[in-house]
């Protein structure tokens, strides 16, 4: 198995990528504006649900149950889907999934496919694999289309083009769709996409989709969307290929009653998203004549193997943690070097790759806890971040200076005598850096602090010294 998560294996470290993005005022403003809007909408529709906490708990418990019995539920899904006329394929890694999909398309001698938003296909870099095989993929989600035509990378799980404003989108569409007179209003841009894609929906014979939920009991798949491009792809072409991560299984049809409440409110701040499509295998006289499901591992079993962080796989890709995250809101998604951005990306990306890459991501958080607060399936992201930091250190990936500093600090803090000594030493060490009662520049690791902030010098008397002195004084 050779796991591939987009270009994450070769992406720059988070602080390096973030540095560039933070100084891009346009991106920061676009991201801030977009996340503010979704956050507020989410807060409104979550507040009106009086059983939200109970729904979160049920969502979490269902997902945890599935993960404990994933082998069973995957096979149950396969059997039910097959009975209903679907064909189930298993792919250990990105290369295998790409090969299966390319072969299926070639078997139909097709040179074009339409695609409905699937992060998983970005994870396995399906589009480049299709292009290399002479197959042209057309992204049909509006944001994905903006990203594809702009030769860009998605920056958000739910709204992949939120880093782009209307002026930028207008420029991309005008160039790539050859529409010199195109207007600037979102309505104009949306209408252009409708016209551009409709021709493809009615003509292209093969579609590729992701899936939000795969129901083990019935072999059904559910796709949650807003624009109708999903319905187009899922019902008009002759052949449908659905790529699903193995963690997307839910046990029974009735479990949708939990997730179809949690997901839309968390993802887009809607009571319900405009469209849900649920289908089971092939249906005589309606929809695709041929239906393939590709079940993808690509490192998910690596995540499953860590009891402590397994719940990462509970994720239903709502993106609420991105919108809530103060770090994401400063950088946007590209800093994470992965198709999975934000807090969930910071825990998912390194784990999929068995902690061999992206070790800076678990540190890309101030551990403020806003992500956990909004997560609809109660993934304790801050705890998992800390756990993964532990794995980074344990596996020897932490910088040597930091390791030494932490060792020294640990030693100093072990006894009060050593702590007192360290306090005294620090008081002396700070003298050369203290001017007019303020420290404005420090060397080494601490230079990062004083790059943008002052530091008050360590006071002459520690609390413990004050207390000891006070105890000796006679008191009234």
């Amino acid at each position: 198995m050779s796991v591939r998560v987009g270009e994450a294996a070769t992406a720059p470290e988070f602080p390096v990528a973030a540095k560039k993005l933070v100084s891009n005022a346009q991106i920061r403003q676009n991201v801030r504006r977009a996340t503010d809007i979704i956050r507020n909408k989410r807060a409104r529709v979550v507040e009106e649900v009086d059983d939200w906490e109970q729904l979160r708990r049920a969502g979490h418990e269902i997902k945890e149950h599935v993960l404990r019995h994933l082998d069973f539920y995957l096979q149950q899904f396969e059997a039910a889907c097959t009975r209903a006329g679907g064909v189930v394929h298993w792919a250990s890694d990105a290369a295998e999934a790409n090969r299966i999909i390319v072969d299926l398309i070639r078997a139909h001698e097709a040179t074009e496919v339409i695609k409905v938003k699937t992060m998983t296909s970005d994870e396995i870099r399906l589009n480049p694999a299709l292009q290399a095989a002479g197959i042209t993929p057309y992204e049909t989600d509006l944001a994905d289309l903006i990203v594809q035509l702009g030769e860009d990378q998605p920056s958000h799980i739910v709204v992949p083009a939120l880093h782009r404003n209307r002026m930028e989108i207008r420029r991309i569409f005008s160039e790539k769709m050859n529409l010199p007179e195109l207007g600037y209003e979102p309505e104009d841009l949306t209408a252009a996409a409708r016209a551009y894609l409709r021709e493809k929906f009615l003509r292209v014979p093969i579609a590729i989709s992701g899936g939000n939920f795969a129901i083990a009991e019935t072999g059904s798949v559910c796709v949650v969307e807003s624009e109708g491009n999903g319905r187009m792809c899922l019902s008009l072409p002759r052949v449908l290929i659905t790529l699903i991560g193995i963690e997307k299984i839910i046990p029974k049809f009735r479990d949708l009653e939990v997730f179809l409440q949690l997901l839309p409110r968390s993802a887009t701040g809607e009571r319900m998203n405009p469209y849900n499509s649920i289908w089971t295998g092939v249906s005589p006289g309606s929809g695709p004549r041929e239906f393939h499901v590709v079940l993808l591992d690509n490192g998910r079993t690596n995540v499953l193997a860590d009891d402590f962080s397994r719940e990462t796989l509970d994720c239903i890709r709502c993106g609420a943690c991105l919108n809530a995250c103060p770090v994401y809101r400063q950088t946007g998604g590209h800093a994470y070097g992965s198709v999975y951005a934000g807090p969930i990306g910071a825990i998912l990306t390194p784990q999929l790759q068995a902690m061999q890459h992206s070790q800076s991501l678990p540190y890309a958080s101030s551990l403020c806890g806003a992500c956990y607060e909004v997560c609809p399936v109660k993934i304790n992201i801050p705890e998992i971040l800390v756990h993964l930091r532990g794995r980074v250190v344990e596996e020897g990936h932490a910088p040597i200076v930091e390791r030494l500093a932490m060792k020294a600090a640990g030693y100093a803090l072990e006894t009060p005598e050593r702590l007192s000594l360290a306090q005294k030493a620090a008081r002396i060490a700070q003298i050369p850096f203290t001017h007019d009662g303020v420290i404005r520049r420090l060397p080494g690791m601490l230079a990062g602090w004083t790059a943008v902030r002052d530091l008050a010098p360590i006071p002459k008397q520690s609390f413990r010294e004050w207390w000891a002195k006070r105890q000796k004084e006679p008191r009234l």
Partner: protein, 210 residues
């Protein structure tokens, strides 16, 4: 080794799983969320109408005997000469003086049509959701999707209050393709500005039978 066996083995190594599940464990999942509604029928219908209004979908109310004239009124107001309909839609609902063609399998014909008239399998008040069941003879997926205008008839007995009640009804026909529709097609992908109508019908209207 096949990829399937490989994945199953890795899962079992990771979880200690053994290809069985515990129905008891599944049944013990805490489901303390609301399973059923609390509103009386009149309030439930009002909630549904409110939600549709929120989505910007016009609601026309009429008695069952008034369905045909109501449709005639809407078509006249919209300057439409007729609509496509699924095969099994009751004839009695269709007013004279307009054409009502049975569904065409040709996507381009659907695309150039004036719209589609359907009924639904059920509706969910809390989320303003209409559920379509795509059984043979009933509305097909393409028919409810490609035309730019969708007029849907909903009976009060079809409206449940909560999502769990709706899903439970859907479970009874879960092997058929199902589409749930909550307002018209929409996107917020450009600067989070909500634009109605991307690829699905840009106009969704509802006749609520009283």
């Amino acid at each position: 080794m096949s990829a399937k066996q490989d994945i199953i083995d890795r899962i079992r190594n990771a979880t200690g799983g053994s290809s069985i599940t515990s129905e008891i464990e599944y049944e013990s999942i805490n489901r303390h969320y609301r399973q059923a509604g609390i509103l009386d029928p009149a309030a439930r219908i009002e909630l549904f109408a409110d939600r549709l209004a929120d989505y910007g979908s016009p609601v026309y109310r009429c008695a069952e005997s008034e369905i045909a004239p109501t449709i005639a009124g809407i078509l006249t107001e919209r300057s439409k000469t007729g609509l496509l309909v699924p095969r099994d839609l009751p004839r009695i609902w269709l007013p004279d003086g307009f054409y009502f063609f049975r569904e065409s399998p040709d996507y381009h014909e659907l695309d150039s049509s004036e719209g589609v008239l359907t009924d639904c399998a059920l509706a969910i008040a809390a989320t303003g959701t209409i559920v379509l069941r795509h059984a043979p003879g009933e509305v097909s997926r393409a028919l409810s999707l490609i035309p730019d205008y969708h007029l849907c008839i909903v009976f009060p007995s079809q409206i449940v209050e909560t999502v769990p009640e709706g899903i439970r009804q859907m479970a009874s026909f879960s092997t058929l393709p199902i589409t749930t529709i909550s307002g018209p097609s929409a996107t917020s992908d450009i600067e989070m500005t909500r634009i109605k109508g991307v690829h699905g019908p840009r106009t969704l209207e509802v006749i609520l039978v009283t």
